[in-house]
């Protein structure tokens, strides 16, 4: 291994001389401790290295070892249910070896080398395979069949294929390529900064259901789409991200906790083995990979954590899975970029962020998508990406928010006014948007209900109207509004409180299926429209609002999934209004 010499140490930045031959983004090991770093700039024989661990105690004259290899992740069986730091070191193994605190210079393989997996071949000897084709599979967890694929860049005839109990370092297949015979193991390494190739990109056309009413109904995300959740602190970003990680109907979840709280990871680790996937009934941890680089862990590894997570997510997408990646929070990642850039004395752009901030963010989100994967079966995979953004002071003009909004298609704007009234999820319905509504229209029509999209439109219009009416009411008082307008205010209140408001900690309320969402919204709007009709029949607003069925509407969210109970409420509305209309008009008598 080639050796350089340290000439400067400034926090996470180390400069070394005698590094001719080092390549950009090569991994290096620093000092006697062997801290891990990455080359981020080269000036003649000087290498500028960002170090992924604390550099206290490192000084000039100490050696730097050039590995000649880029910073990579290991991809293979054993990823699922793991918890890694930003450069894919297994935190659970570290804990067993080093104790409760993370020490420096630890080098551990990300994947367990000893564990035997039951490898079931999917090809036979003599078969021609192309890159991306399945060679076999391993049941990693009851939820995940881990496909072993022909590595990118290889193709040829299978000369040997094994089966049975094997560890990941054993050769499972040998492929006769034109020039040589290639040994294939169950795991491969991949440079984290390179995209994994696909055959073709497709337009996202299916919703990623999350069980969160305000998201699925009003601002849906598509499978293979991108979304962001910006909001000030305390507005519930992390709860939204956790809810998405818990209830999304993706097959694989990669959760990147990037520069956030340690206790939030503890929460995930505690709840994921307990919580059951609503679609399969298995523990959520069996489909989840967690990357945890908390705010007190080294800042440079925070920068890498996003890419580590993305490479793992792409790998599972290549198997034809629908994968969802959550990054909480991309602002902390951007700050890591800023910190390193500052130490390198680069010319700062907006707010001290480097000038390449926007392009890095765009590159990141562009790795999402619905695709036809490599491989001759032309299977489809999808990778959806959701990033939390934590703008300073909740100010949406922050460069990270602005750069993110340029590329993502769904914007869930968190509002601390809503959060202050404990309206959760505090997604502001006037500011948020989703550009996928058109894409998923067909799916909704065929799989949920024909009128779903039009009901959504109606609810949106009512909410829009509400804000105007509230403005008027604030200026001249509620009395100046017509009864119809006042009914609208009551109905939108019902939409807000009985539909959009969702308690993440209530066992029944935390997840709502699309079908139930549809039935709930239909019921609420049915009351509104029946109310309007009753008003036309000269019934008074007070009479309408006094109907007992309204309490039933407000309790709909606590009803179990399934049609019958909800339909009952709908029918009760019909009956209540029928009764009301048959009653002799009180108002007429008074006249």
């Amino acid at each position: 291994m080639k050796k350089g010499k340290i000439i400067r140490v400034a926090g996470p930045l180390v400069v070394a001389s005698d590094c001719l031959g080092a390549k950009m983004y090569d991994m290096v090991k620093i000092g006697e401790l062997g801290l891990i770093g990455e080359v981020i700039e080269l000036k003649e024989d000087l290498a500028f290295i960002q170090v992924y661990e604390d550099t206290t105690g490192i000084g000039p004259e100490e050696p730097v070892f050039l590995t000649g290899k880029p910073l990579s992740v290991e991809l293979g069986p054993g990823l699922i249910s793991s918890i890694y730091d930003g450069i894919q070191r297994p935190l659970d193994v570290i804990r067993k070896r080093e104790g409760d605190f993370i020490t420096r210079g630890i080098e551990l393989p990300p994947l367990n080398r000893e564990k035997k997996w039951n490898f079931a071949p999917l090809v036979t000897k003599g078969q021609e395979v192309k890159e991306g084709d399945f060679l076999g599979e391993v049941e990693e967890t009851p939820l995940v069949k881990h496909k072993i694929m022909v590595p990118v860049g290889s193709a040829g005839k299978i000369v040997e294929i094994k089966k049975g109990s094997l560890s990941i370092e054993e050769v499972v297949a040998r492929i006769q390529a034109p020039k040589e015979v290639k040994d294939v193991k169950m795991f491969q390494t991949w440079s984290i900064r390179r995209n994994r190739r696909v055959h073709e990109r497709l337009m996202p056309d299916e919703p990623l259901t999350t069980g969160q009413r305000v998201i699925d109904t009003l601002f849906p995300l598509a499978k293979g789409g991108t979304g962001c959740v910006p909001g000030p602190f305390g507005s519930g970003k992390t709860v939204v991200q956790h809810q998405l990680a818990k209830w999304s109907d993706a097959q694989i979840i990669v959760f990147v906790a990037c520069g956030e709280r340690g206790n939030e990871i503890a929460d995930l680790l505690l709840s994921f083995p307990e919580l059951k996937d609503p679609h399969t009934g298995r523990p959520l941890l069996e489909r989840t990979v967690i990357i945890a680089n908390t705010s007190n862990m080294p800042v440079a590894a925070r920068e890498a954590s996003i890419y580590t997570g993305m490479s793992i997510a792409e790998y599972f997408r290549d198997m034809g899975y629908s994968v969802a990646l959550m990054a909480d929070s991309t602002s902390r990642w951007a700050e890591a970029l800023r910190e390193i850039s500052g130490r390198m004395e680069e010319m700062p752009g907006e707010e001290g962020y480097p000038a390449y901030l926007a392009s890095r963010i765009a590159e990141f989100y562009e790795r999402a998508g619905k695709v036809i994967c490599l491989g001759s079966d032309r299977r489809q995979g999808a990778l959806s990406v959701m990033g939390a953004v934590s703008p300073p002071g909740g100010d949406l003009s922050d460069p990270v928010v602005q750069a993110t909004l340029k590329v993502v298609k769904v914007f869930w704007a968190l509002d601390d006014k809503l959060a202050n009234t404990r309206h959760f999820p505090a997604i502001n319905w006037l500011l948020s948007y989703s550009l996928y509504v058109e894409n998923i229209k067909n799916y909704m029509n065929n799989n949920v209900a024909e009128e779903f999209i039009s009901l959504r439109q109606e609810a949106m219009e009512l909410l829009e109207e509400e804000s105007e009416l509230q403005e008027i009411a604030r200026l001249v008082g509620v009395e100046s509004l017509s009864t119809k307008e006042r009914l609208t205010l009551e109905s939108t209140r019902s939409i807000r409180e009985d539909f959009l408001h969702q308690n993440a900690f209530h066992p029944q309320d935390t997840y709502t299926s699309l079908r139930k969402q549809y039935l709930m919204l239909r019921t609420i709007l049915h009351f509104h429209n029946s109310g309007l009709k009753a008003l036309e029949e000269e019934k008074s607003l007070e009479e309408i609002l006094a109907l007992g069925v309204r309490e039933k509407i407000s309790k709909m969210k606590f009803l179990p999934e399934g049609e019958s109970d909800l339909l009952e409420v709908y029918i009760e509305i019909d009956n209540a209004f029928k009764e009301l209309l048959q009653k002799k008009g009180v108002s007429e008598e008074n006249v």
Partner: protein
């Protein structure tokens, strides 16, 4: 013997630049002997083959270029700890300030600490009863949480913090408990308030104090909170104690950090604070918590005074992003003469959900909490409306809410400085207030609890 250097070339603000050095490491502790023999300490901030940039804790007044002697001590700043540390008072650099003897160290610990492995963390879930209704009822504190007080100048945050330190208990348990107090840049009077309060209540015997007062060196403040937290880690994870750490005032800490960044001519971030303020604060706040299979815990209450009461100011803002909620102290409520002037609407405790409920506080706690919030928020809205349009323009329901808000502030929030309310009393008080609102309005409360605590009048 350490090598001595006489090669100081520049002195800029708190920084000293030493030339022609050898075998110096990043983060190393440095001793500087000024003319006349007075000693100061510092740490290496930037090191290259030719020179080291040293940040001097005690300030650079009286240092000169020609005669200052610099020694590199070969290790980073450490704190010597043993059981004897409990009940002692230290200065901001960890030297005894109470005329007592030096601590005979059983263990030397690097004050920067190591990050807790996220996999080793245990989720905080034990409710701490502070006896203050607006905290226990609305924003409950749990063991291992970091919950700052966001305050402003002239507000009684010190009294609230002292009250919490005095009254905090975990229901039904008597365990080893200690308070670690770190003061950065506060005045003698404020520091003395805490010391006297601890002394009067007997808490001083189980407290450790690190004091850097306003007239003491600014740069020393960088080390003070780390000393306090290192001490807390020792007490919690080596001696199995439950430690409450109070750090006051984080604003002065951040200003000291800014001073160094400016002296180093770093690219400034928002309002001149360095871009790494978030990371820097996080390396301290994140030291709070619980560890699996360990008995002790660290609960952290940092106090910060927001310049102009602006919670979007970088210090408050970044703190809020790291900590698990915040208790907001409101000038408006303070002006009404209500103590403690805690505004529950912008306050938040993120860990409350795991710490409350059946078996911990009471089954209805979460619902009552949410309902009180909603009602108070509505009441405040009504109050604003009444200001513009006059009270006559309010609907009957809004008038009820308006009244609710008044009672809420006057009965629920207001309490005595030495009054400790049990969680049961707090919740009963909450229900009493909720009874003034029609039952159908209480949508945040599950029907079964409504039935139990607010039975329908027949």
């Amino acid at each position: 013997m350490y090598k001595e250097y006489l090669t100081v070339s520049n002195i800029v603000g708190p920084l000293v630049i030493v030339e022609k050095i050898r075998d110096v490491k990043f983060g190393e502790l440095v001793e500087i002997e000024a003319v006349g023999g007075s000693l100061r300490r510092g740490t290496v901030l930037d090191i290259s083959t030719e020179r080291a940039v040293v940040q001097v804790f005690e300030g650079t007044i009286g240092l000169d270029v020609a005669k200052s002697r610099v020694r590199f001590l070969g290790h980073s700043q450490q704190l010597g700890v043993s059981e004897e540390i409990i009940g002692r008072i230290f200065d901001g650099s960890g030297r005894p300030k109470d005329h007592g003897p030096q601590i005979i160290a059983k263990k030397m610990i690097d004050i920067n600490g190591n990050p807790i492995n996220p996999d080793a963390r245990d989720y905080p879930s034990e409710f701490i009863q502070t006896g203050i209704s607006s905290i226990d009822g609305m924003n409950p504190l749990v063991r291992g949480q970091k919950l700052p007080l966001f305050s402003g100048s002239g507000l009684p945050h010190a009294r609230i913090a002292a009250q919490i330190a005095r009254q905090a208990t975990v229901l039904g348990k008597a365990e080893k408990f200690a308070v670690v107090f770190g003061a950065m840049g506060i005045t003698f009077e404020e520091a003395n308030f805490f010391i006297e309060d601890f002394r009067n209540t007997g808490a001083l015997e189980r407290a450790v104090l690190f004091l850097n007062l306003a007239n003491e060196p600014t740069i020393e403040r960088i080390a003070t909170p780390r000393l306090a937290l290192t001490c807390a880690e020792y007490l919690a994870f080596d001696l199995d104690m439950h430690v409450l750490v109070i750090l006051v005032d984080m604003t002065f800490y951040a200003e000291a950090l800014r001073e160094i960044a400016a002296a180093r001519k770093e690219v400034p971030g928002r309002r001149g604070y360095p871009g790494y303020l978030y990371t820097d604060l996080a390396t301290m706040y994140e030291r709070a918590g619980r560890i699996k299979d360990k008995k002790g815990s660290i609960t952290l209450i940092p106090i910060l005074t927001m310049p102009e009461d602006d919670k979007t100011h970088p210090i408050a803002d970044l703190t809020g992003y790291i900590t698990e909620g915040q208790i907001m102290i409101s000038r408006e409520i303070h002006r009404k003469g209500i103590y403690p002037p805690i505004d529950v609407l912008p306050s938040l405790s993120r860990l409350k959900d795991k710490g409350i409920g059946e078996g911990k506080t009471r089954e209805d706690h979460a619902d009552v909490l949410n309902q009180l919030f909603a009602c108070y928020a509505r009441g405040k809205e009504a109050r604003e409306l009444a200001l513009i349009l006059g009270e006559a323009a309010l609907s009957d329901l809004d008038k009820l809410y308006l009244e609710f808000a008044e009672h809420y502030e006057d009965e629920f929030v207001r309490q005595g400085e030495f009054e400790s309310r049990s969680i049961n009393d707090t919740l009963e008080l909450g229900w009493k207030l909720l009874h003034t609102i029609p039952r159908a309005e209480l949508k945040r409360i599950r029907p079964e609890y409504l039935e139990k605590y607010y039975p329908e009048k027949k």
